[in-house]
Amino acid sequence: METVDERVTEEVEALEAILMDDVSIKSAPNGIPYAVEAVVFPATADDTDQQYVRVTLEVKLTPGYPDNAPEVFLRNPRGLDDDQLRIIMEQIEEKCNNCCGDPVIYDLIELVREHLTSSNLPACPCTICLYGFSEGDHFIKTSCYHYYHAHCLAQHASKTEKFFNEEQEKLPHFQRSKTFEVLCPICREPIKCDVETLSKASLPLAVQNASIMEPDEKLREMQDYMSALYIQQKEKGGIIDPDAADNKVLLVNEPYYVVIKSVSQNLVGSSTSQSNCLGESCTNSEMATPEEEPETPRWRQRQIEQQERQRQRALQQRDGHGHGHGRPPQQPRLPKPPPPTKPEEDGDEDGVDGNGTQRSIGRQRRGRGRGARLNHRNR
């Protein structure tokens, strides 16, 4: 039968009496305590809003404790950077080694608390702008203990709310049940914040004072390597050629509406001059997963509108400045046989599988690849 060191029993009892809910004792089924865990906050006279950092201290009671040093871990740190954690850890080890034979846990908790009290400002950068918190910045601590500049969080909140509302509008009324919540960018927990107040905050100071970057030799070397590899893979036929792919006609599956989309070759020229949209807006639509589209009732409507726009654009080809939607010109066209390319892909990508049903192969790409690259350069 294992016996418990009396000093351990006494220490554990004392900890529970002093710290109450702030400490949790883990015991084996036979009642012998094997670990003590405490979430430590800075001393702020119980004003939790002013506690910007925290860490969980876990002390494992090794068999020989307190004659041997316990094993100590710092877990779930919030607002502390690696340097601070390392310094705290060093002091903990020193303390343990100096106090062999004496109960040490309460002292460890106090040591950590003193440390947190003296550095009660989040040391980690704001994960939205990647800059730190300076004296004078307006920042937020979420209930999940993550930190953001008010300015940054406001942008996130308004952007996600806009996205949420757009998504809701696509749903029929009876499905619009959810109410909008701002989610923590780091852990996706719902957080409470007043967007209106937040958005009044000014730009974080570190962001205002940041320097800009000058390309150096190393960057140029890497750029050269990238182009060399591109050329090499191109020669081997290893580069995806959106132009060749466009000769194939892909059918987009819609329960009630099948669209045949392809691109008129004579529009390629005009699409390359749409410098404004190619980079982002195009990719916006292009990158939408095919499976996302069928669930939007507005889809068909947009499709029709878009085709109408494209028809008009085709009429005035020289007007290359596609704005807004940025989808490159597309025109409905009759299917034509795919050109001989990769045999592995053919036959299937025509959009008709073995069962003769159309599958969704989101087909919106045009004018990317080389064309897009040129456009980026032209800006």
């Binding site: 081997k236 580069i239 995806i240 792919a245 990719t283 997963t289 990769k342 592995e344 299937d348 800006r379």
Partner: protein, 151 residues
């Protein structure tokens, strides 16, 4: 250059100074929002040994919107279609501004290690991956050797 958000500058600097092993991302000389990317095929995957080129574009409201990414090098993978488009939730509705270029590229590299034929983007590939995984893996290796390996 002047209007380039600080966050993009910061990310770019870090990508160059502390590159992620197996991943390089270099801004285009004329457009700092357009990145040339190389992701190496993960060890133990059919893509091992391959150098896959991708293009990555940071939209106007990045980081509030996800970067646009696609493969440029041909790749045989159930979640990547013929045009190199990638089926990955964090590039769509699960985007968070706490993610970065480096975390996105790491996720894409992880996708190479863990193909998911049940959530396909390239249907023919996914189908083969489901019914005859050995052959699909052979194809993936063959494509990697043919298109993505340096001479």
């Amino acid at each position: 250059m002047a209007s380039l958000p600080r966050r993009i500058i910061k990310e770019t600097q870090r990508l160059l100074q502390e590159p992620v092993p197996g991943i390089s991302a270099v801004p285009d000389e004329n457009n700092a929002r357009y990145f040339h990317v190389i992701v190496t095929g993960p060890e133990g995957s059919p893509f091992e040994g391959g150098l896959f080129k991708l293009e990555l574009f940071l939209p106007e409201d990045y980081p509030m919107s996800a970067p646009k990414v696609r493969f440029i090098t041909k790749i045989y993978h159930p979640n990547i279609d013929r045009l190199g488009r990638i089926c990955l939730d964090i590039l769509k509705d699960k985007w968070s501004p706490a993610l970065q270029i480096r975390t996105v590229l790491l996720s894409i590299q992880a996708l190479l290690s863990a193909p998911n034929p049940d959530d396909p983007l390239a249907n023919d590939v996914a189908e083969l991956w489901r019914v005859n995984e050995a052959e699909a893996i052979r194809n993936a290796k063959e494509w990697t050797r043919k298109y993505a390996m340096e001479d």
